[in-house]
Each structure stands twice: as C-alpha cells, then as structure tokens.
C-alpha cells in the first residue's frame, strides 16, 4: 500500500518534470489544425514533419534561414569551448598541482566571480564592445561567453586534474621527460574525459545565452538562435507549430549533452555554481 503511494508520487513527479518537454515535441509533430483544435490531442493523431520542413527550408526572418542562425550559434559556442577549455586547463593545473601563495585567494575569487549577476555587466561590457569596434560581431559574444564560462570551467577541471595521480608525472620526470612532454603524454590523456565534460558545460552556457546576444547583435544576419527565436515567436498570433519545431531542434542537443555530464555537474555545482 505504502509502496503504491510512493510509486504514484514518483509518477506524478515524472509527469510534472517531463511533460513540457513531451508537449514541445508532440506539438511540433502535429499538423496546424490539430494544434489549434478546441480539444488538445494528447498524442499527434496525424504526425507530420511539416513544421520542421518549414523551419529548415524557409526563412525564419526575411533573408535569413534557421540554418544561418544555427551556424552563428555553433560558431560562437565552439569558439568559446575551445578557448575556455585551453585557458581553464592551464589554470586548473596550476591550482591542482602547485601550492603557491595566491592559490586560496584565486579559488575564493573563482567562487565570488561566479556569483556576479551577469545582467549587471551588460552595460559596461556593451561599452567595451562598442569601444573595441566589436558591436554586431560574433567575436563580441565569444569574448563575453569566454569570461562567463571560464570560472566554472576552472573549478570543474581542478577536480579532474587533482584526480590524476602525481606519481605518474613524477615517474615520467624521472624517466627524463620534459615538463611539456609530461603534460602532453601523461596529464592530457588522463584529464581528457574531464575536459570533455567541462567543454560540454561551456558549450551549453554559450548555446543558451540570450541577453548579451540580444544586446550586442543588432544585425539580423548575425543573430544567434536564441535571439532569432525570441523574435520569431514575439508576434501577436504565434504559430506554435514551427515555434515548437525550432524549440525542439534547439533543445535536443542541449539535453543530450547535459545527460552526458550531469553527474559531474552536481558535484561541480554544489561547490561552485553556475546555472544557465
């Protein structure tokens, strides 16, 4: 009896958590008359890919296609990942492998900067981007997201580097390997999984970001996907079919990536936090 109640509660929680995701995908597969019918269909009775076709072949905004926005977003996210992974690995090695005077101060600083409300930085970063002549360019976003993702990336990677036994590196050093060789041949392969996890995190941060993309990019051709989508559905009578198709295409990669690293996210987040 008690078990039944627990399982029922479990199902209720599962329904609440997963339903919006299900509803997004399900709506995206329904023909328009089914979407706007007076009685919602729990399951698409005549599933169709028409909305996906419309999104992928038509123009989201006159002259610019979904694919263009997708490429913009991917360019920004991948550049952020590469840069922040590189820099974070160096810094994580420093804090995980060496005891030096400013180490604790640096760690505290990492925690504090993660708490800065990024919304508060829109105005000064806008000024910086203006002065650097980067307004309306994708590098303005790459630079911004690099700053946002780096503190957590360092924090997360720190654990992975610390987990590689020091003895391995010492043994390599005794065998006459240089520092660079030890780094490349021993440390790098062993922290590779951590680097992947961290990269996915940075990717999600950059992929999801809306406010800065909205503020720094005015030229429609350079919009990232989130910005394009807010415009796309901001009209009065929203055409929910294509909106849900676009949302699904935007969301699925994030969910897949997220599920790959969520275990790491929990331990990382409890000790140093960023949320998309």
């Amino acid at each position: 009896m008690k078990k039944v109640a627990l399982n029922a509660a479990g199902l209720l929680v599962a329904l609440f958590a997963a339903f919006p995701v299900y509803w997004m995908i399900s709506t995206s597969l329904k023909p328009s008359n089914e979407i706007f019918s007076a009685t919602p269909q729990p399951v698409p009775t005549h599933p169709t890919l028409a909305h996906y076709r419309e999104i992928l072949t038509g123009n989201l905004i006159p002259g610019v296609s979904f694919f263009d926005f997708f490429v913009n977003s991917a360019l920004v996210a991948i550049s952020t990942v590469v840069l922040s992974g590189l820099v974070a690995l160096l810094a994580a090695t420093a804090v995980a492998r060496f005891r030096f005077r400013l180490r604790t101060s640096f760690l505290i600083m990492l925690l504090v900067v993660q708490m800065i409300p990024l919304e508060a930085l829109v105005i000064p970063l806008f000024l910086m981007i203006q002065r650097l002549g980067l307004y309306n360019t994708l590098p303005s976003l790459i630079l911004t997201y690099l700053g946002f993702s780096l503190p957590f990336a360092v924090w997360m990677l720190r654990g992975f580097v610390a987990a590689v036994p020091k003895e391995l590196e010492e043994a390599a050093a005794i065998d006459g390997a240089s520092r660079a060789q030890t780094f490349r041949r021993i440390l790098l392969p062993l922290v590779a999984p951590g680097l992947v996890a961290t990269s996915i995190f940075s990717f999600i941060t950059a992929w999801n970001e809306l406010i800065f993309a909205l503020t720094f990019i005015n030229d429609q051709g350079s919009y990232t996907l989130p910005v394009a989508m807010t415009f796309f559905f901001g009209r009065d009578d929203t055409n929910w079919g294509p909106v849900m198709a676009a949302s699904t295409l935007f969301t699925l990669p994030v969910i897949i990536f997220f599920l790959l690293v969520q275990r790491r996210m929990v331990s990382g987040l409890v000790a140093g936090a960023v949320k998309g």
């Binding site: 009685t39 508060a120 360092v154 559905f233 987040l269």
Partner: protein, 328 residues
C-alpha cells in the same frame, strides 16, 4: 633559495634542484596568467566599471563611445532611484519572488530527493531521468513551452479550465469561458506562472543534490529510528536534516542567488521589457539602460544595488564552501 646561502659549498651539487624549485615557483603564476587576464578584463573590470558608471549621467550611445562628456552626478542616480516609489515596488517584487521561489524549490526538491531515495531502483531511475529533462531544458525553450501551455486560445491550461463544469467554474472564478483569458495580464498571475516555470527548472538540482547527500548518510540511522516508531516527520527533522545541514546551507544560498537574478524566463514570458508592473531588479536595470531613451547611469546604479545584495549572500556561500573544503 635560502639553502643556497646557508650552504655555499654545496651550491654546485644542489644547482639542479634549486633551479627546478625556482622554476616551479613561477610556473603556477604563468599557468594562471591567461585565466587571470580574462577574468580581470571580462568580469572584474566591468564590475568596477558598472560602479563607476553609476555615478555619471549617461543617456546616449555616443557617450559610451567616448564622443561626448560624461557628466558626474555623484550619488544622484541612487538618490533618483531610492526616492522613486516604483523602485520600492521592484525591490519588493524581487525579494518576495526570490523568497517564495527558494522556499518552494527547496521544499519540492527535498521531497523529490527523499522520494527518489525510497523508490525501487527501476522506478527511481525512471523518475530521475524525467527530472533531469526539466533541468537540462534551456531556460529559453522551457519558458516558450510553458507560454504555449498557457496560451489563451489553444493552450492546455485554457482547455482544462474550459473543461471544468460551468457551474463549478462560475462558482469558483466567476467565469466559465476561458478562451481569450490573458493568463499573463495580472501581475499576480504572471508571478505565479513565472514561479511555476522557475521552480520547474530549478527543483531538479535540489532533488539530485539532496539524493546525493542522502546516499552518503548511513541508512541504519533511519532504519533504527523507524523501528523505534518515529514518524517520518520526526525522522527527517531529528536525523536527516542535521546530517544534511551543510548541503542544505549551500543549496539555499545558491537558490537565493539564482532566484534574485532570474532574467531569461521573465523576459520570454513577458515578451520583452514592457511589462513594468512585473519588473524585478535584473530586468529593471536592463530596461532602464537599453529601452529608449537609454539611461545607462541609472541602469548601472540598479545593477550595483542588485550586486551588493548578492555579494552579501555570496559571502555566506564562500564561507560554507571553504568549510566543506577544509573538512574533505
């Protein structure tokens, strides 16, 4: 280096280790340099800049570009804001919203964490996977979907309310036809839906963290208490809660920080920055700065106030994390 001066005759023999030690001393700083430069330029400098800008009257992009003077107004922006009754409304909205959301997220998250711990393995995996979906969904698309669920013509909620027996619907709410009902029009309803969206996005993290905490607690304690006939309520407050206190501390602080700066969900739900009655600090700051006519100085002052509030909360957080680091 002191060893070299202490034992000069051994200098030759020790040269190699000494040189290595000196290199080791500089290497960590070298490795940190790129990160320090990036954090300094992209986070700390703007933070200082936003404080500086809050002391100027900045009303045009040309001032930002440096083509025009920045008139110094000292605390003028702050005086303007603090004497504006609207700011007090926004502050009240922010604090009440954060408090309600932290409370609800913590309660729901903890309950789900406890539930996951009690479920059978298969069921727990299934429920946890579903919960992960809510967590993984980007704020942007998650909010868009909720907006669709609350659509005033074909939304699921509108349909649900229409499906209520007319008598019941009339008796409870004074209307039976919900088609065209603006779910987002009254500030109170707007905040209720925003709370739903934010709690939906953030309870999974609490649930998973609480579950992780529970797994690290020896289950014998709970069993012993239950055998002794303690109610679940008593078991939670007398055993589980004290053991998980450090985890709860961090989770509450993190939730507070996140809920104070909710932006994307609000921006998408409100369809931009026009809905002033539902403003909270983050969106207020943004709207002052970027909706025409721009008031960058005023926006900066609001941002500084938000940052100050969060810095206080962050202080607690850093202390708790450092204590945990020491223990582990």
């Amino acid at each position: 280096m002191t060893t070299l001066t202490e034992v000069p005759e051994a200098a030759a023999a020790r040269e190699t280790p000494a040189r290595r030690r000196r290199r080791v001393d500089r290497l960590p700083y070298l490795l940190l340099l790129p990160a320090l430069v990036i954090i300094g330029v992209l986070l700390l400098w703007p933070l200082g800049q936003v404080v500086a800008m809050s002391f100027y009257r900045l009303n045009s992009v040309r001032q930002l570009r440096g083509d025009r003077e920045w008139p110094w107004v000292g605390l003028g922006n702050y005086a303007d804001i603090l004497s504006d009754p609207f700011f007090l409304t926004v502050l009240r909205n922010t604090v009440l919203f954060a408090a309600a959301n932290v409370l609800l997220t913590m309660i729901l998250g903890t309950l789900v964490g406890l539930l996951l711990n009690r479920l059978g393995r298969k069921m727990a995996t299934f429920v946890a996977s579903c919960v992960m979906l809510a967590w993984a969904t980007p704020a942007l698309t998650g909010t868009i979907v909720w907006k669709w669920i609350f659509d005033d013509t074909s939304g699921l909620v509108t349909w649900l309310f229409n499906a209520l027996p007319d008598g019941l619907s009339n008796g409870l709410f004074g209307r039976s036809d919900w088609t065209g009902y603006g779910w987002f029009n009254s500030p109170l309803l707007f905040f209720a839906i925003l709370t739903l969206v934010v709690v939906w996005h953030s309870f999974p993290f609490i649930a998973v963290s609480v579950l992780a905490g529970l797994k690290s607690v020896p289950s014998e304690l709970h069993e012993a208490a239950r055998v002794d006939g303690a109610s679940p309520w008593r078991v939670f407050w007398k055993i589980t809660f004290p053991l998980l206190r450090p985890v709860f501390g961090i989770l509450i602080v993190l939730s507070t920080i996140w809920d104070f700066k909710v932006f994307t969900q609000q921006f998408v739900l409100a369809g931009g920055t026009q809905d002033r009655p539902t403003f909270m600090l983050a969106i207020y700051s943004y709207a002052e700065a970027f909706s025409p006519p721009p008031k960058y100085g005023l926006g900066a002052a609001i941002a500084v106030i938000l940052t100050l509030i969060l810095l206080v909360v962050t202080g607690f957080y850093v202390r708790m994390v450092l204590r945990q680091e020491d223990e582990s």
